[in-house]
Symmetry: C2
Subunit: 333 residues, 2 copies
């Protein structure tokens, strides 16, 4: 039977689980809020499903839950922050007001974060800025899992990009997508179930196309969406999120083998402060998209799930709920 | 027999053809330099092939060759410019030094251009900034030709994105790609030759998949690379290059029918000033890409063609050369 929890209660339980694994409350709050937002919006793959790996990363010391991030460079339109092996969400939360002031003052603001863990969706990082009137673009690199333009050997992460633009009176236009055709999680699931993956999504250790998920996971590679064009984006993400910030590249991943851990890398965030008239132009664009048959915009499904969650509580299946209570150290009711 | 012209002589002839069609020298210089750079680098589809439509757009008054662009908003990290129906390349040339000063002072600089024509590759707009040490991201919207997430009806342009990052001692890492799987030009060529196009690149007026180029051109639509993920990028380009700049969207295209014309829209350019140590990180990334089997990086083929052109002159086939001389008003030798 589905259990329904208010989103605040869910976020508190997640934070409690993270604090129990060694995370300081100042870090646990923003990380838990992101996971709870994913569950609230029905994005299960980036919600509680990720909690055990988060907890594991803290327990084994791969992520530092006590890290205090340091601003290492301050310029009128760009902040560089060292997360010191903590998570990026607390960095964004701490710099949020300052970044918006910078963007209002100069027209644009960059947050360049290095040595940061990220293990959820990108849209929770950017949607709040669009709700405040800013256009936001973010990207994050992850562990080495995907081939680039040639050769079939993994070199980049499944590097995600996210984009958010404000709309008057309705939720922002937001999308968030990885550079790979399918996620590593989908391949893991297929391997566990003994299923094949669709043709074209990965290659084996010899760079040859394969539908065998184990061959992709064991020395093979995921492939970028759209072939070389997706590879270009993934490499751009390595430059923006790692080379510019001073973070590790995907191919420098040093996470412990044989255990589920979060990705340590870098995060790039750009805010642009739009001029007057932008809102009306966004509505013209969204109306034209609807006229051309795009009845649903990215984010519409999330917002429908959100309305339901806010009205009736976030629906959790009993297994997720039990795992959450166990990690949080609470007894089952 | 191939004719070889020094790149400066080629650029002068292109400028002469543009001036003869009514373009002021201050606009013709940067536009001609871009076309000549494409020919120099072997990017024929964006070189002299584009000249007749450029000349036509000027002659019929679709583009204003006498336009004097106006800076309409100036902020420490963002300039907004109205090109007044002229081309974007002269705007970039005029603001180039100022943008680099802004990026050095604040960390980042945006150039948001509206009411601007663009009809060549994006890489000539960004590569020069990377040669001066800046990371550059640009995008441009174009005429309505491509479907977005659903519906199969055209709504966005084949909106291109380009990215350039500096490398020490070698040419920058640069890519430039449209959001469609194939270009409109490829479909036109297939229609002229009576060939089919590959499956998956377009749909007909009913939104159904087709390999008939005429069905794509007559009421159908091109399709984005990578499906919905490419559509997300194309819509982002409409937001960045049109909504943010105040330019026309692709679906507002009002170009005269039945004649080859340039695209009137907007252009987004971001410069980021990297911190010390960036160059060494770029070399680590490029070395890892090579190790993973990416023997050729985007731009390598262009740079090989460039070396040949600079050593022996830009190779032109006799037909292109004759058309150029005719448009420039020069007699054939």
């Amino acid at each position: 039977m589905t259990i329904r929890l208010p989103v605040e209660a869910l976020a508190r339980l997640v934070a409690q689980a993270l604090e129990r694994a060694g995370m300081a409350p100042a870090q646990a709050g923003p990380v838990a809020a992101g996971l709870a937002a994913c569950e609230r919006d029905g994005v299960r793959g980036h919600g509680l499903l990720r909690l055990p790996a988060l907890v594991n990363s803290l327990r084994i010391g791969w992520a530092d839950g006590q890290a205090v991030a340091a601003v290492i460079d301050e310029r009128p339109a760009a902040l560089t922050v060292d997360a010191r092996r903590g998570f990026v969400q607390p960095v964004i939360a701490a710099q949020r007001e300052r970044l918006m002031r910078m963007a209002r003052a100069t027209g644009a603001a960059l947050l360049l974060t290095r040595n940061s863990h990220h293990f959820s969706a990108l849209w929770p990082d950017i949607e709040p800025f669009a709700e405040q009137g800013f256009v936001a673009l973010a990207c994050v690199n992850s562990k080495k899992r995907m081939a680039a333009w040639g050769g079939g050997r993994p070199v980049t992460g499944t590097n995600a990009m996210g984009f958010a633009a404000p709309r008057p009176n309705v939720p922002p236009l937001v999308w968030d997508q990885s550079s790979s055709i399918v996620s590593q999680g989908d391949v893991l699931l297929a391997a566990q179930r003994g299923h094949a993956v669709p043709p074209g999504v990965g290659c084996d250790a010899d760079g040859q196309p394969t539908t065998d998920p184990k061959a992709i996971l064991e020395g093979g590679a995921l492939l970028p969406f759209g072939g070389p064009k997706g590879a270009s984006l993934a490499v751009m993400v390595e430059v923006l999120a790692a080379a510019l910030t001073g973070a590790s590249f995907a191919f420098e991943d040093a996470s412990p083998a044989g255990t589920a851990t979060t990705s340590l890398g870098g995060h790039f965030l750009l805010l642009v402060d739009p001029a007057a008239g932008f809102g009306a132009r966004m509505e013209a664009l969204c109306a034209a998209l609807a006229d051309a048959g795009n009845d649903r915009l990215p984010g519409d499904r999330r917002h429908a799930a959100r309305r339901d969650s806010l009205a009736h509580g976030v629906p959790l299946d009993p297994t997720s709920h039990a795992t959450l209570l166990q990690l949080a150290g609470d007894a089952l009711p």
